[in-house]
Symmetry: C2
Subunit: 438 residues, 2 copies
């Protein structure tokens, strides 16, 4: 096997999770030959680029709290101390909650666990929210439409200060540059993995082996540019994991849903600009990333565009789909108009008569407990199922993947906190179910 075809590790997927994993693997195993490949012509072009690029440590499970809080602190460190601008801004997260939602046991648990983990949060009353947020509608009495739409009145706000946005392209570039500085192998782009290669271990050179009585492992990948082999294949392919894992009989336990973002420009709409420039929550002086009480509708401010990205985490009724091509992820034009707009404009009349100027879609890879998976099986190190919050967990997940690769029992996350390397595995999984999924 010529040396440009054979490696110690191949990292498949140069999204946020792939580049971060490649970096930590190389950093902690400096002699290993680690090849990073991606089907696109550059890093971070797939679902990383489609993301809402928001980061939050406000999760209900202590596992997700740990993964995000340490990752976010690392992103701050990169920006403040390492002077690499990730355009990370703490504009906050704001959940608008109804009386009923606020009284829900799961919200109580969420708050208790944030308290215990030292996650910064603040509760706002309806009155405070009304005073702070221009045009927020907290009164649906005598609004028959709102009642028909099952909209619940805003009674509380749950705000997190250590949340915000960053530029995922910059984050990918940061990890990629750091990786390239220490790597022996130039990343290869435009390399599409068509299948994982399973071989007998050891090989007996029998026709059409491996047979069931042989030990076997994944030894490489078949790509559009030929076969590449490695001792370990790191799979950081997000929404495309099943395409590669199903054929070798590894159940990823994840399924993909399409998620869409619609861009609403505020320029010609003074009430929208006013909403965007809501003061009082953060130093940035803008409305936080805001989650409405109904239907999973949310928006994030987009200061450069003087507008908003509007999304929706619809649950039952939105298909799980085996995403195989980019065509599977075309945004639906009527989705904003019929499903999101009616909700948005009830709570925030400033959105009245808005139409999206742009839209895109991506695939979220969901795990059943909404906690990511990191595990090694038969030569494949899988990082998957971040359930829409992979970027904000990338640093921690990559460190865990690296610890697993090196056979360490524990992974040390940024700031020194530790987690068992197999805690996010399929076997011996030790996590709390996440209830705060957007």
């Amino acid at each position: 096997m010529s040396s440009d075809k054979s490696f110690d590790v191949i990292v498949v997927g140069a999204g946020t999770l792939g580049v971060a994993a490649a970096y930590y693997l190389q950093k902690n195993s400096p002699d290993k030959r680690i090849l990073l490949i991606d089907r696109y012509l550059a890093a971070g072009q797939a679902n990383t680029a489609m993301s809402a690029a928001a980061v939050r440590n406000m999760f209900a499970s202590s596992t997700n709290q740990l993964l995000t809080d340490t990752s976010i602190k690392y992103f701050e460190h990169v920006q403040e101390e390492l002077k690499c601008d990730l355009l990370f801004e703490k504009s906050g997260y704001l959940w608008l909650l109804s009386e009923e939602q606020f009284g829900n046991p799961s919200v109580k648990t969420w708050i208790e666990r944030m308290e215990r983990s030292g996650i910064s949060y603040k509760v706002y009353s309806k009155q405070e929210l009304k005073e702070m947020i221009p045009g927020l509608n907290v009164d649906f009495s005598n609004d028959e439409e709102a009642e028909l739409m099952n909209l619940q009145e805003v009674s509380y706000g749950l705000y997190g200060a250590d949340c915000g946005f960053l530029d995922p392209t910059r984050l990918v570039e940061y990890y990629l540059d750091e990786f390239k500085k220490i790597s022996h192998e130039k990343p290869r782009f435009g390399v599409n993995v068509e299948e994982l290669i399973v071989e007998a271990d050891p090989k007996l050179d029998l026709p059409s082996e491996p047979y069931v009585w042989q030990k076997k492992k994944v030894t490489g990948v078949k790509t559009n540019k030929g076969v590449l082999t490695a001792d370990v294949i790191v799979l950081a392919t997000g929404a495309w994991a099943n395409e590669l894992l199903d054929p070798v009989g590894i159940d990823s336990q994840t399924k993909v849903k399409k998620r869409q973002l619609f861009v609403i420009h505020g320029e010609d709409k003074p009430p929208l600009v006013e909403l965007l420039n809501t003061k009082g929550f953060s130093d940035i002086g803008c409305i936080p990333f805001t989650i409405l009480p109904s239907a999973g509708v949310y928006f994030r401010p987009q200061l450069q565009e003087q507008g908003f990205w509007v999304g929706c985490g619809d649950k039952f009724g939105r298909e799980y789909k085996y995403v195989q091509t980019d065509d599977d992820l075309v945004p639906e034009s009527a989705y904003y108009e019929n499903s999101m707009y009616p909700v948005l404009s009830k709570y925030f009349p400033a959105f009245t008569d808005t139409r999206p100027t742009n839209s895109w879609a991506g695939g979220y890879s969901y795990s059943p407990d909404r906690i990511p998976f990191v595990y090694m099986e038969s030569g494949v190190l899988v990082i998957n199922g971040a359930s829409g919050s992979g970027i904000m967990k990338a640093d921690a997940l990559a460190r865990i993947a690296d610890a697993l690769y090196r056979g360490e029992e524990e992974a040390e996350l940024f700031g020194g906190k530790k987690i068992r390397s197999t805690a996010l595995g399929q076997k011996g999984r030790d996590v709390e179910v996440e209830s705060v999924i957007i």
Copy 2:
């Protein structure tokens, strides 16, 4: 809606799980109009008919022990007291284990839990096995081939007396007949469910509703014979669950693997006939269902055919496949020859030079913890993921499904033991991971 299109409950799938569920639902809700439908032209024609038709209560998880033990006792009751012959015979199950396997902590746990649950088992020594089983090879010393094949020598036998076989067609007929006696609706065959219908609840008669802000539920099924509606759709479709659940956004958490059985006739082979007629384990006087120490290979005796059905539970390397048509499940002719035969003939030289006279394949629907799912979500009552042991759990699963339908907190299984109705759910799941999967 005309009355032959609209029901209280539609049970989709007339395999063992579907007919048993239809029966208990109707029995305990005598006034409800319950329609049973199946894509085939008769009941039990799909994976029920492809099964190895073996039943065992020897599981490692107390959940599976409870589900099987109570179901098997009910099958005995049906045969002995109700005088409906299911061709149920307690020919036993025999795991042949190596020294290493027997010392494995998971085997210790398995035995401890059987002890605690009062599951009958017996441990045989190598010497006892040698004396009882004609031609069993327990010595691979100086057998280089066996070493290359990773075959482990038999050191122990773990035997279960309350295990055996039944005729799944008769079991299906039993439940179906009982259901028909009390049902208001004639089962309909040749009715293929193409999709689950999701509707707004309540409907607002808006174009292309439901929207994300509407409550919604499954209200019926679109079939090749038109639309049928019901308050609750029971999904007992086995390997085809994802085909219906994915499009409505319910993650079944199950994946399907192909499983194959090969028939070996003993007629002209005296050593095979001798093996088949092994005495000493059960009153039947035949070799038990036997699981070899390596590669997941097993066989069951087939007295009527004077032969064996040979199967294999291969794990990594056997694809998970989205089974959509019967063509996906054609048996592989080389599989017996290359993968199963070499293992089988090492442990049991009586199989030397055998070739299958028949073979077939079916789909097992696996759950991650190898425990079945029974849950109600958005109008669908799902019974799925029995992981290859659905027939032997059918009675218990059907009773749990019925309790869930009636909103009961607990289901009473045959013999009076109880289980929380939501114990097998996706939320609040309360089960031990099953380690003894064939």
